[in-house]
């Protein structure tokens, strides 16, 4: 059986769902950040496989260009998120998400 877009989309969906589980279940802020990276990669696999298997002459390789922009935005996001976690650690001496509950009513 040849590998088609369905196979790639299944891997992409599984990676995205594993990332969602990590984001919801982990307490550590940095572990949550890593889970978000997994979700980004799940989406990127889908974009790249659309570009590869759904080639279109009018707008060639848009999926690859989109994936590149996603990588760029993810790099910016990680930089800001690490800075925010650092700030939270300095103020509260913890990065556990359930202990940062200053706004709790």
């Amino acid at each position: 059986m040849t590998v088609g877009i369905t196979h790639m989309l299944v891997v992409s969906a599984a990676l995205f769902s594993i990332g969602v589980f990590g984001l919801l279940a982990r307490r550590n802020g940095i572990a949550m950040l890593m889970s978000v990276e997994l979700m980004f990669n799940g989406v990127n696999i889908a974009l790249v496989s659309f570009a590869r298997f759904g080639y279109n002459n009018r707008q060639p390789l848009s999926g690859l260009a989109f994936a590149l922009f996603v990588i760029t935005v993810a790099a910016a996001e990680v930089a800001v998120a690490v800075a925010l976690l650092l700030l939270a650690y300095r103020r509260h001496s913890t990065v556990q998400a359930d202990e940062l509950d200053e706004l709790r009513g």
Binding site: F16, S17, G22, A31
Partner: protein, 214 residues
């Protein structure tokens, strides 16, 4: 060009296994190493389906730069390195349920929908021109504006990260005040201890003097 099935299955197992390790390992440093492995395997997957430039970018940025940043984050927040408890929230079965439902929905949609539209392979003229060269041309023509905006975004993120992580004047004063208070408390404690020691010495001496004078 078709995708090699053996390579696809081996690499996909690596990607998903690495991802599972990232979300389940209690030690955050081990999770970060698993993240590097997982993202590296995603790069291999891009290579397997013939997206060379994306594979290079993935390995440079995702398997190289981003984990370095995350490991910096781990090292600078010392408390996060030692695992506390299980590392999961109390209602993690609910999270598992939500993500399993999402996975079922997405995989079901992918499996049910017809993939006959997506059987196109790269045409010969694209392969002759080179995929990377075509991608470069696309980036600087159709996507020229997003390309420029991305550079502004990166600059903004750089400045924002520096501004957030810098200690500002008020924080420095706060830390100085805390340090001084700690020192004062330490001095008071040491003086009290000395006084008590002195009192204990005189108390120890006094009974023996009384005992010598019967």
């Amino acid at each position: 060009m078709t995708v090699n099935p053996v390579a696809f299955y081996v690499i996909s197992a690596g990607v998903l296994g690495g991802a599972a390790a990232v979300v389940t390992l209690r030690n955050i440093v081990h999770a970060a190493v698993a993240l590097v492995a997982c993202l590296f395997m995603v790069g291999a997957l891009y290579l397997a389906i013939g997206a060379d430039f994306l594979a290079a970018a993935q390995i440079l940025i995702y398997a190289g730069a981003i984990p370095v940043l995350i490991i910096f984050g781990i090292m600078l927040t010392r408390g996060s390195m030692t695992p506390q408890g299980s590392g999961f929230v109390r209602i993690w079965p609910l999270a598992l349920l939500v993500s399993a439902g999402l996975a079922a929905l997405l995989i079901g949609t992918a499996a049910v929908s017809s993939d006959s539209w997506y059987t196109a392979v790269y045409p010969q003229d694209l392969l002759d021109n080179g995929v990377t060269r075509t991608l470069g041309r696309v980036l600087l023509t159709s996507f020229a504006l997003p390309f420029e905006v991305a550079s502004v975004l990166l600059l903004a993120a750089l400045v924002g990260a520096v501004t957030l992580a810098r200690r500002d004047e008020r924080e420095l004063q706060l830390e100085e005040a805390q340090r001084q208070r700690r020192e004062r408390e330490e001095r008071v404690r040491r003086r009290r201890e000395e006084r008590e020691r002195a009192r204990a010495r005189t108390a120890l001496v006094a009974p023996s003097q009384e005992g010598e004078v019967p």
